[in-house]
């Protein structure tokens, strides 16, 4: 039986009201600082400008010559993303194995907490991963365009460096999030760390690793398009050219291609997860 005096008021109401007020108070300066004013969008001449820009998108360009060019640019984008990811994996997997606590021998007899000196050895690797991913890929791309010239190489290197940092960090955390007992049992039966990884950790981590890797590959495709705008090749460079020439139809065709690529990545991810998880 509830006390009628208590039942009249929701005890959580006050804190909810406070949270709402706090959220508004925090968002308001943000709106001011970002100078967001949606009214500008519908202001007479602005709307017309956007309208003409968008109306040029129809019909999408589909001449045989352009489609050949588009096909080349798409292949280049896919190649940049894939080669970049492969290089990133080559760096990320060893780094993740070094950085993860899941394969610690000293943690074996300490209830999963590694000794402090073992943690000290992991910090440089974690620091390297932080350094790699803290600089945005577009900055790397600008740097490499100056170093190796215009073209896909700059994009590949930029993706490889940034994504090695992201993949390494997330892999290390995936290894730590799976059930640690199988790996610990193997280490306790004399297996080496790598053996314990392949027999104890990997069977549990495969699904999540594949899903994250394919998602990152999709991000790499997007990133390689953005980096194309600074001259790193692929669809982005082509899109930059078409936009400068106000060829809306070509931009529309490229956006459609882009949609297909993301759809493809999504299907691939679903297929792999269905097979391995």
């Amino acid at each position: 039986m509830l006390n009628p005096a208590l039942a009249r008021r929701d005890p959580a109401a006050a804190s909810r009201l406070m949270l709402t007020l706090l959220a508004v108070a925090l968002l308001w300066p943000g709106l001011k600082l970002s100078e967001l004013d949606l009214g500008v969008l519908f202001d007479g001449s602005n709307a017309d400008t956007m309208g003409t820009f968008l109306s040029a998108f129809w019909p999408p360009e589909h001449s045989a010559e352009f489609l050949g060019l588009l096909w080349q640019a798409t292949l280049e984008t896919l190649a940049i993303a894939t080669v970049g990811m492969t290089l990133a994996l080559a760096v990320a997997i060893p780094c993740a194995l070094l950085a993860t606590r899941a394969l610690s021998l000293s943690a074996l007899s300490r209830d999963g907490r590694p000794a402090w000196w073992a943690q000290v050895f992991r910090w440089p690797v974690r620091g390297l991963l932080i350094l790699l991913r803290s600089i945005p890929e577009i900055v790397w791309a600008l740097l490499f365009v100056r170093a190796v010239g215009l073209g896909p190489t700059a994009g590949v290197l930029a993706i490889a460096i940034t994504y090695a940092g992201m993949l390494g960090k997330v892999y290390a955390e995936i290894f730590e999030s799976v059930d640690p007992l199988p790996a610990r049992a193997l280490l306790g039966a004399g297996a080496s760390r790598l053996q314990a990884f392949f027999y104890g950790v990997l069977p549990q981590a495969t699904g999540e690793m594949l899903s994250y890797t394919v998602y990152r590959w999709e991000c790499a495709i997007r990133a390689s398009v953005v980096m194309g705008f600074v001259g790193a090749g692929g669809l982005g460079q082509q899109m930059d050219l078409s936009m400068r020439m106000f060829a809306g139809g070509e931009v529309a065709s490229m956006l459609l291609t882009f949609l297909l690529l993301v759809l493809l990545a999504d299907l691939l991810s679903r297929l792999l997860r269905w097979r391995f998880a």
């Binding site: 049992a185 306790g188 549990q204």
Partner: protein, 260 residues
């Protein structure tokens, strides 16, 4: 095994235990007595706070890490809930027992194609699991998983077998049969076997030497035929449970509270 001597853990106090090579010892006692801690200490999965521990003639905590790993390859610990990855196949889980003796390239090759299918099938056959060879671990029942865990340690063929409640998820007939297989294998290989057991009658039936553990101390340590009902009563006597007042049975209404 020379002698084992560990103490000072909050779970274990002044344990002084010596087990000779080839002996078969059952450890019995109430829940929370320290049976698992004792086995984990012997398996070098825990480092004793105090005292000395000697396993297979060597002191594991004075060895370098590499030498300790080689020593661990000769110690097999059977877990109550076998820690097997759910998606791993039984054949791989059993072959993993030999990882301490395999090189890394060999163990990687075995992941692509199982290298010793016959060996794994033979080991599984001893526990009547040969037909489960290619099934995944998450398709097995608790009792079958325990038998896979035992098979892995038999396949590892260690000199010291430690078993923590190895048959707790099996029915009495199967439990007795499985323990029989385990003790016969240990005897055949002249391996030392220490097993903690909840079921006293199984311990008395299969093990020549019984160690009773209570409150982190060894209460008795004698040959199985000499263990009398008085000692068992003292081992399992539970003062706290007897004094728990029986609560009046108030029918609490089953509320269905959604989590929010």
């Amino acid at each position: 095994m020379g002698h084992t001597h560990a103490g000072g853990q909050s779970a274990l106090r002044e344990i002084d235990l010596q087990v000779a090579q080839g002996e078969r010892v059952a450890i019995i006692g109430p829940s929370g007595a320290g049976k698992t801690t004792l086995l984990r200490l012997l398996a070098t999965a825990l480092k004793p706070d105090l005292g000395e521990l000697e396993v297979l003639g060597r002191r594991p905590w004075t060895l370098a890490a590499g030498a300790r790993q080689r020593l661990r390859a000769d110690i097999g610990l059977i877990h109550q809930a076998p820690p097997l990855p759910p998606r791993q196949r039984v054949v791989t889980a059993v072959l993993a027992g030999q990882l301490g003796h395999w090189s890394l390239p060999k163990s990687l090759l075995s992941l692509i194609y199982p290298l010793d299918i016959q060996g794994a099938a033979d080991a599984l056959g001893r526990l009547d699991l040969a037909e489960k060879l290619y099934m995944r671990c998450d398709q097995l029942s608790g009792g079958q998983l325990q038998r896979v865990g035992i098979t892995r340690v038999l396949y590892q063929s260690p000199q010291l077998i430690l078993a923590d409640e190895p048959v707790s998820a099996m029915d009495p007939v199967l439990a007795s049969h499985t323990l029989g297989v385990l003790t016969r294998e240990a005897e055949r290989r002249n391996a030392t076997l220490l097993a903690s057991l909840h079921a006293v009658e199984l311990a008395l039936e299969h093990f020549p030497r019984i160690v009773g553990v209570r409150d982190g101390r060894i209460l008795f340590d004698k040959p199985a035929p000499e263990v009398g009902p008085d000692e068992l009563a003292a081992l399992y006597a539970n003062e706290q449970l007897e004094h728990v007042p029986t609560l009046p049975a108030t029918p609490t209404p089953q509320l269905n509270i959604p989590r929010c």
